[in-house]
Amino acid sequence: MTVVIGFEGSANKIGVGIIRDGEVLSNPRRTYITPPGQGFLPGETAKHHRSVILTVLQEALDEAGLKSADIDCVAYTKGPGMGAPLVTVAVVARTVAQLWGKPLLGVNHCIGHIEMGRLITNAQNPTVLYVIAYSERRYRIFGETIDIAVGNCLDRFARVIKISNDPSPGYNIEQMAKKGTKFIELPYTVKGMDVSFSGILSYIEETLFAMLVEITERAMAHCGSQEVLIVGGVGCNMRLQEMMGVMCKERGARIFATDESFCIDNGAMIAQAGWEMFRSGHVTELLDSWITQRYRTDEVEVTWRD
């Protein structure tokens, strides 16, 4: 039996989750929500996380009905993400790991999303959006944005037109888009396997998501894959899931997605990736536990899959 606690705080969500052999025992989370028209800045976000992290940690233990002695490993987000919030969370993770005498594990945030997606959906060997496929011990990045991430693009669009950030800008865009009737053709920027989102901040979901569906399909064709797994906050979007579903149906492939507890940043996904890494022998020495704002998904050696 292996119990891992995971700490996540690389953007505006701070979460602590506990996993025991594939079972999510607790996954409390808080979101730092800014007023409409304002994005979240590193210093303020770090301050928010700092003010709630110990409370959320206690909640995670209480909801799981566990004591610190029951934990086998402490996992935390090493990167990528915003510097100040990452440090705040890492400092607490390092401290409790030492207080409790448990090994520490630095986890790549994107791998956290992937491992949680695999656990919840049981997809066997999916092509993952953000266009990633597993091959020979690496999550291979098939295609990526050449400038900003799709979530960042949607958030900035919401900011420009002053949509509320509660519960999240993306959710509110989606609700408004459901009532839309007119489609406006906008720059559609796919370059081979990659996409570009920065040129068009006055876009509509349809265009963005169509771009993502196209490059996912291309990755599937290259890998001969029959499964798609959508992870990350934008993965909550039902329209994206619907569009991806249409493409999958045409190819006879299956689509997998998780609900908002798990596609939005959370602590349990870090715990799950930590669980996989810990069981295959990874440990992070304290000296090497520094956080990093840039951390590519393909930098990690995936020793827990064959």
């Binding site: 110990l54 510097g83 100040a84 440090v87 400092v91 401290t95 030492q98 207080l99 409790w100 956080i291």
Partner: protein
């Protein structure tokens, strides 16, 4: 305490020293290991050195500009108090 020192008469570096007592050497070391791994956000113009001696964590900064020094010290104190709160809530350290 911040002091100015001249080096070769041309460069002035600012220094800041901090000594923080802990209930035990073990806790001072835990604080050291939690607070030292991350690099300074600004690459240049500042360096920070942490050390434990007995039950005391000592920190020494060297900076070119007062502003950079202030920001780094202020940030460190925030993280230090977070470590201490964590120790209060989830300590004491288990026996080794």
């Amino acid at each position: 305490m911040a002091t100015c020192m001249s080096e070769n008469g041309s460069e002035r570096k600012l220094e800041f020293f901090l000594k923080v007592p802990f209930p035990s050497e073990r806790e001072a070391t835990i604080a050291l290991q939690s607070l030292s791994p991350d690099p300074e956000p600004r690459k240049g113009g500042i360096s920070k050195n942490l050390d434990v001696s007995g039950q005391t964590l000592s920190v020494r900064w060297t900076a070119d500009e007062a502003r950079i020094l202030r920001v780094s010290v202020s940030s460190f104190l925030d993280h230090l108090s977070l470590v201490m709160e964590t120790m209060d809530a989830f300590g004491p350290p288990v026996s080794q």
